[in-house]
Amino acid sequence: MPHTAPASVELRDRPALLEARGLAYARNDEPVFGPLDFTLHPGEVVLVEGDNGAGKTTLLRLLSGLLAPTSGEIRLAGEPLTLARLSPQVALLSHANGLKPELTAIENLRFAAGLLGLRSGLSPTTVLAGVGLAGYDDVPTRKLSAGQKKRVALARVLLAPVGLWLLDEPYANLDRDGIQLVNRLLENHANRGGAALITSHGAYAYTSGTPRRIPLRADANRSDA
Amino acid sequence: MNDFLAMGGYGAYVWSAYAVFFVVLALEALAPRATRRRVLADLRGRLKRRDARNEASA
């Protein structure tokens, strides 16, 4: 069943999970992207599209609060995001999976659960099974393939009791099943009232419904071209 | 004049101290010029690359 976002009126009435106003970032005075304006409501999945080096990763780091914007403002659930007060409502999946190669998948997830808390009704074991890695509990993460590591990292995101997912290239390294898995996870998350911002360089895409897209280009590039 | 240079027997010490003072400060004053030239050359390189990129995309 394809899900059309945002579905219910009830979800729409809540404040925007994420709001960016005039968001721009420059590195060594070279504009990376922006200024950008967008909002993300509960139940929405937004796709950030851009070529290599267009600043997709930078945007996610800005939205998670790791990086301060050059100009503009970010609001999470109505509250301005500052470096000193990072939001407990964001889960970030970045290029580095954030997994310890020496630890088993389940140990990695247990640590993540200890750090961020646990979504009610889930446990590391059930989540691991949920990403198609049932029985891999005791395998050290370094012995997993790149795609399997990605699944463990996705399990970590799934586990966190947060409304907003920021996923950097979630489809990378995944097989056909894996891509479907990501889509399913995103769809469930949106149905639960969560929202997600995912990046992709375009090869794969969120196929469920018609997600909103944010094209990412630097303002300066646009005016020069 | 010789008396002045001898500095009561401490000439070597006094004059070497003053030499250090002048040499270091002279280098310190010349350094920004070299840096400035390098920074501006870098900048021109960046501009050239950007122009090339824009021409290619246009």
Binding site: N28 | F21, L25, A29, L43, R44, R46, L47
Partner: protein
């Protein structure tokens, strides 16, 4: 926004600051040079011989002003780093990082002239005394700040990290001083005092103070020169910098 903050904002904007710095800088260098030469004439020729140290004391006319400058430059750097970290003002970041190499130069001069002076007077080039050791640590701190600033790619991040280090250092310097103090003291006390009478004759103090003034003015000239470069680097993509870069190229080929 009131008039003062508006003025501050305007002067603090990179192109204005660049132009202003360019206008003041030559005056600072020139005044510093003139004052310095007068002070040198006073110190080397006019000032009488010391009753105790003979002519060797004449090193004081460069050693002491440089020692003052080494601390002054550090406070200047740390104060600007503090402003940069708290209010994220670009100009403060640049000013803080501009002060570091100059401070390092003055610290180096202080150490070298001090040990040249120490050899005939104390009987040793170097001793692990509180002032000497803390001055050496100060030099290491300057080099650390410069090294950290150079090692980070992003200019603003580099300035913040190095500024943070400078702030840690400002706590460290007195600690080093007092820690060494309890196991060794050789360096004499302060000669020139803000409170109470100075322990130096009037015929000797004026070249000293004049040289101190000269080094301060020189310091600001050099800070401005480096600030201009820092601003160019930081604002590399802007039109005003572009114009300067192209002008400079024309000059070089003319």
């Amino acid at each position: 926004m009131n008039a003062l903050t508006l003025w501050f904002h305007k002067t603090g904007s990179p192109p204005t600051a660049y132009r202003l710095a360019g206008r003041i800088m030559p005056w600072c260098y020139g005044l510093g040079l003139v004052l310095g030469l007068v002070a040198l004439y006073g110190g080397l020729v006019l000032a009488p011989r010391d009753y105790q140290q003979g002519d060797a004391y004449r090193i004081i006319f460069i050693h002491v002003p440089c020692a003052w400058m080494s601390l002054f430059a550090y406070f200047f750097m740390a104060a600007n780093a503090f402003i940069a970290l708290v209010w994220r003002i670009k100009l403060s970041e640049v000013l803080a990082m501009a002060a570091a190499p100059i401070g390092a130069a003055f610290t180096f001069i202080t150490l070298v002239t001090g040990s040249i002076w120490g050899k005939p007077m104390w009987g040793t080039w170097w001793t692990w005394d509180a002032r000497l050791t803390s001055e050496l640590v100060l030099l290491f701190l300057y080099l650390g700040v410069i090294g950290l600033h150079a090692a980070i790619e992003d200019r603003r991040q580099a300035a913040r990290a190095a500024g943070f280090l400078a702030l840690i250092g400002i706590v460290n310097i007195p600690i080093v001083h007092f820690s060494v103090n309890w196991w060794n003291t050789l360096h004499q006390g302060s000669t020139v005092r803000l409170m109470g009478p100075s322990k130096i004759d009037a015929s000797m103090i004026w070249p000293l103070l004049l040289m101190a003034l000269a080094t301060h003015v020189w310091f600001f000239g050099s800070v401005l020169a480096r600030t201009r470069i820092g601003l160019l680097e930081l604002d590399g993509g802007k039109d005003w910098v572009r114009a300067i870069a192209l002008d400079d190229d024309k000059e070089a080929h003319a």
